[in-house]
Symmetry: C2
Subunit: 165 residues, 2 copies
């Protein structure tokens, strides 16, 4: 069934792995839900709370962590004649999560939504449907069998050594 070759250990140690590091920052159910809303454009404490039905203490805690990690920003702003308000916009780092989230959405639409997509992406100019894909430098789709992992030499050595200790 699985065509992934059996390995006893990952080729990259967990502490060298940026993917693993990212889980510490965004690998939590509430955090992921907050980011989902944020990517759609929600920015205010009370809006997050109402939409997600998350306890205030949890929301407060998660927003603080996201700000500390540089994914969101806490900003005071003032609309014409209104009193000051707080908003939590995504930083550029946070906005960069759009592509990963789209990739997950694509996966989820296929496997959890029975192929049905509540939300799809389209090109404004051509109307074509957009999708997430693995492409080469000339933007040609990669064939599954043609993909190869390349491990940074220094990192691979560390993993080898780490294996023995």
């Amino acid at each position: 069934m699985s065509d992934i070759p059996l390995l006893r250990r990952s080729p990259v140690l967990r502490r060298d792995c940026n993917l693993a590091k990212s889980f510490e920052r965004i690998g939590d159910c509430w955090t992921l839900l907050i980011l989902r809303s944020a990517l759609y454009g929600v920015r205010r404490f009370e809006d997050f709370r109402a939409e997600l039905d998350v306890p205030r203490s949890v929301l407060s805690n998660r927003l603080a962590a996201l700000v500390a990690n540089g994914i969101m920003e806490r900003r005071e702003y003032r609309e014409e004649g209104q009193r000051a308000r707080i908003e939590y916009p995504l930083t550029r780092m946070g906005q960069g999560l759009a592509l990963p989230f789209m990739a997950i959405t694509q996966w989820a639409d296929k496997w959890l939504g029975g192929g049905h997509s509540p939300l799809t992406l389209r090109s404004k100019s051509t109307g074509q449907r957009l999708s997430v894909a693995l492409v080469d430098e000339r933007c040609r789709r990669a064939e599954k069998a043609d993909i190869e992992f390349v491990i940074d030499a220094a990192i691979a050595r560390r993993a080898e050594r780490g294996r023995r200790t």
Copy 2:
């Protein structure tokens, strides 16, 4: 800073959203780490445990959930002359997570790893570097400003109604 337009509510209700559903299944730090290892080729209980240093009870629990959700499979197998063993290979659904994980890796390499990538993907045949991107049907990269959300009409109506109740 943020060019995402302010919204009071997400355009898709949480219960209609496959992205949100996926968080219930894979939105947990241990589960994500297990999947990371699995995508590299780790398949055995003891190997996951040793590599991640995860408590047995937690690992047992997470593997069971992943199997129940159809992401992994529990399989008994037997090598020549050896005694029976158990392995947890990814199902096709689980293997489908490779693309989302690559997208997160790309994000993490840029923002958490200072642009340094321990592991990159390459085309075996052409040697070109591979990356995750948003493309149209003819596999042309989408311009950021040219992207548009399309919400399924029925879903949008439900969200409208949900907003008032």
